[in-house]
Symmetry: C2
DNA sequence: CGAGATTTTGAATTGGGTCAAGTTATGTGG
DNA sequence: CCACATAACTTGACCCAATTCAAAATCTCG
């Protein structure tokens, strides 16, 4: 499980007054008043349904960089909505190989892989200090029997994950290194934009190694591709700080198949 | 579009009386009496639930080799259970590239990708003469609000698809050509065994090109890998007829990472 | 039976991997 | 807050697995 928690929701001034083990929990909160509701929840809930939904009252937990949210093999109990920060998910092969299967950010739901066997199939690791809402799955199932639009929403979230994964299969199966990196940057850019952040200036939260694992490339190849994009004026890179200079040209990288 | 829709409920005895265009429909059937129920359905249904489930009464439709079950962009209405035969699913990239995302056989459910946007994101093509049960998704959602174990089952099916896709991401992102082919053959072998067919002697329903697309390889590479496995005595290949001679050694191919 | 599609095999090429060395960040303890 | 140790990143040179191109063999089905 995740390392003992030291961070806390209280201000640093009060830290010494709080029992250590409880320190990474925050008060339960209502989804109806969450500023991420539009990313997490179905849009068309009635007032009554919204009140019902608040029965979920998810527990919020804090994570520091490289804390595990769950590990492969953990018993499945809950889905997790990322409230702030970001995570990576990865699968482990017997022989030690590991593959990053995704990078998740605020408003995204993770843990869907565990429903199938009641055990987590992959592991989720925080890339930075993050806050997560824990959504007990049996509550979610009960509620979604009572709120059809929540039911449909849950189905859509799972289906979206399937579509996303198939997009990565296309990337891994048929794109060359620079196309993969272009697709990756455009995807990030798009997701930052959805969250009202700059689509052209952002900070990567993952290492070259992690990007490489995700894209099926070695870290040196990722680094070279970044350098090349910078050389030709498509982006500016300063290690993890990215500026997309020529979005159109970055997009056109995608269509230049072999 | 998929074949013209003219439902018919006539028995086979009357087939000759039926206009040709209707000939690819078969009578509706009850899931409760289907011999594939153990692959398709949750195991723990009560008698009452089973009767309720029969309200689905899926329509069966016939497909010939290379018929489309659905195409990318088609309006989403139903999931499809493969009753016999097999299909491939593939996504199309703007620039013409296509990637096979899976091969499906009897008892498997396809169309899950379409829930997310109400439009099919990929296309499904019959690899041989096949029969498919059409499961209207709104009926399925209604029923699963009433039958919790059907609800859970639907969630598991979707989750299983997510896990499967992530396994392919691992394959595409980190395995060499022969490992990929070994993983592919072992997966097929396993699935034939589940269906009480030989795990060691089977007929491929897909071309080298299609296998290559699925595995992120060129068809020549697939062909060479087959030839090499045969040379070293792991399998016998005669074009599409496969015999696995040394299952253990085929498995050990998987662990030999770089 | 024959035409077109599929598969096999060979030879040459290359994109990305590997190995290695140097540089730049990052974070920790004094 | 600085110094140092460690981790992350970049770049170069070489290599190899898989691709590309080509041609021949085999299969499939109308």
């Amino acid at each position: 499980m995740c390392p003992v928690a030291l961070a806390s929701f209280v201000t640093t001034l009060q830290v010494s007054d709080v029992p250590l083990l409880a320190a990474n929990f925050q008060p339960k909160t209502a989804c109806s008043s969450c500023n991420l509701a539009e990313l997490c929840l179905p849009v068309d809930l009635t007032q009554t349904e919204m009140e019902k939904l608040d029965e979920l009252s998810p527990l919020k937990r804090n994570f520091s960089r490289s804390d595990y949210l769950y590990r492969s093999g953990d018993k499945f109990r809950s889905l997790f909505a990322i409230h702030s920060g970001s995570f990576k998910t990865q699968i482990l092969h017997e022989d030690g190989r590991e593959q990053v299967t995704g990078f998740q950010m605020a408003g995204e739901i993770i843990g869907l892989d565990a429903i199938s066997t009641d055990m987590h199939a992959c592991e989720a690791v925080a890339l930075e200090n993050s806050v997560v809402c824990e959504l007990p799955f049996n509550k979610l199932e009960t509620l979604s029997r009572e709120i059809p639009s929540l039911q449909r929403h849950l189905h859509k979230i799972m289906s979206r994950e399937i579509v996303r994964d198939q997009g990565i299969m296309l990337l891994l199966g048929s794109m060359r290194a620079e196309e993969r990196l272009a697709a990756f940057l455009l995807n990030l850019s798009q997701r930052f934009a959805t969250r009202n952040m700059s689509a052209t200036h952002f900070q990567l939260r993952m290492s070259r190694q992690e990007i490489g694992s995700y894209l099926g490339l070695k870290l040196e190849t990722v680094s070279r591709a970044f350098s090349h994009f910078q050389e030709v004026g498509i982006i500016n890179v300063k290690v993890r700080a990215i500026e997309i200079v020529d979005l159109a040209r970055l997009k056109s990288c995608l269509n230049s198949s072999r």
